[in-house]
Amino acid sequence: MSTVKVNFILNNKPVSLEVTPDCRVIDMLRENLDLTGTKMGCGEGDCGACTIIIDGKTANSCLVLAAQLDGKMVVTIEGLGSYDKLDALQQAFIDEGAVQCGFCTPGMLLSAKVLLDHNPTPSRQEIMQSISGNLCRCTGYAKIANAIEKACGK
């Protein structure tokens, strides 16, 4: 199979890769780049565990071809914060008990990140809407919403 060259900005760093035409973004991140913070829960866009940010918007990385990232700005969970400097959302998720098994957490955080980037003072309803594409089976969502509220200083 032929390959496609793709150049994009990943977590503020330029990346240049050769990918197969059918390679999905999730495969490229997890297999080619070993960025395994992006999780595979269903592969069909139904769970949101693989959520990443493309050009400031959330996307299910299982539903985007790697080739489509050419020229885009991409943020994954690995670009949100670090041990030295957590994003306010990450700290709030820790403090508010928003993390249980943790498998939905990266995707959940990135959905919340996009919300707060566009709307620094969301209502509870807007928070729930923003994470409605991210399934969580452990928490029942309340503590996740609490954490997002806390991160925006509510």
């Binding site: 199979m1 032929s2 496609v4 197969t20 035409p21 059918d22 999905r24 592969g43 069909e44 866009g45 139904d46 949101g48 959520t51 918007k57 959330t58 996307a59 299910n60 299982c62 539903l63 985007v64 071809l65 080739a67 489509q68 050419d70 959905s111 996009v114 809407q129 923003s130 409605s132 594409g133 991210n134 399934l135």
Partner: protein
């Protein structure tokens, strides 16, 4: 078993590529296509990436005519304050699709192109009597949206044609429209039934135009003219609305599937039709 990825820069190039590679897959949002790939329903072919094609990103209003390019996303439509005011049924339908992630990628053209009987934006487009502009080797042609679908997953599109845009009149004073969806949950839901209505009244509130469309009740979304005819020429009293709603329910023959049952679908067609009509009235000041 091999794939190819091509990203044309113009619509002409798209058609050229479509003609060159008979086994091709138009890729806009990818929210249906990549699911099909994952499920093994497609295993090879040429992806033609049209997601960044400028001509398909058009989102204009000219002389009261709204034109929406095929690659405009559900998120763009549902978050547009213009659309919420002048095409509220479509704005609501777009807002009801999938999840934020799906709406950020999924496009209005993809929703029609996939021709799912449950496609949420389709009944809305039908009630606005939208015209589909189709690009092909001989140039563009247009077709009314209610003639566009030929079956589940099937449309009038030929193998070297694709959707350029949808056009319809912006809602004016004396007109109202609304969309309702019933899914198994409030997000990430495929419609059990969806419904859209559009009405126009004259100065004494008599209905001059009515369009009612339903999804997930037949092989394709469809207009319910029998119900429309009950409304046209009358005032929208509760009893007229109820009668139209009942007629709508009587006019459809839905099926059982994994989401719901035929009998239930028939029952809620009435409720949803009634709600779209009542909500349409809210634009009329009564």
């Amino acid at each position: 078993m091999s794939y190819r990825y091509i990203k044309p820069q113009t619509t002409e190039q798209v058609i050229g590529v479509m003609q060159q590679y008979s086994e091709h897959h138009l890729l806009a949002g990818g929210t249906d296509l990549l699911v099909r790939m994952k499920l093994g329903r497609i295993v090879s072919g040429t992806f033609i990436d049209i997601s960044d094609l400028k001509e398909l990103q058009e989102f204009t209003v000219d002389n009261g005519i709204i034109t929406i390019g095929a690659a405009v996303t559900h998120a763009q439509i549902s978050s547009s304050s213009y659309m919420k005011e002048f095409a509220p049924a479509l704005a609501a339908a777009s807002a009801s699709v999938g999840s934020p992630q799906i709406r950020n990628r999924g496009t209005i053209g993809g929703n029609s192109g996939n021709a799912s009987p449950a496609g949420d934006t389709i009944p809305a487009l039908m009630t606005y009597a939208a015209v589909v502009t189709i690009a092909g080797p001989q140039g563009a042609r247009t077709i009314p949206i209610n003639e566009f679908f030929t079956g589940p997953g099937r449309t009038v599109l030929k193998s070297d044609e694709f959707i350029l845009s949808f056009s319809f009149s912006a809602q004016k004073a004396g007109q109202g429209s609304a969309f309702e969806k019933l899914g198994k949950r409030k997000a990430l839901a495929i419609s059990i039934v969806n419904a859209a209505s559009f009405i126009a009244v004259d100065l004494d509130q008599t209905v001059t135009q009515a369009r009612i469309a339903l999804g997930s009740v037949a092989a394709t979304p469809l207009r319910i003219t029998a119900a429309e005819n009950i409304i046209i020429g009358r005032k929208l009293t509760d009893s007229v609305i109820a009668k139209a709603a009942k007629t709508a329910a009587d006019s459809v023959n839905p099926i059982d599937d994994v989401r719901s049952e035929a009998d239930y679908r028939k029952k809620i067609v009435a409720a949803l039709t009634q709600r779209t009509l009542k909500n349409s009235c809210s634009f009329l000041g009564f």
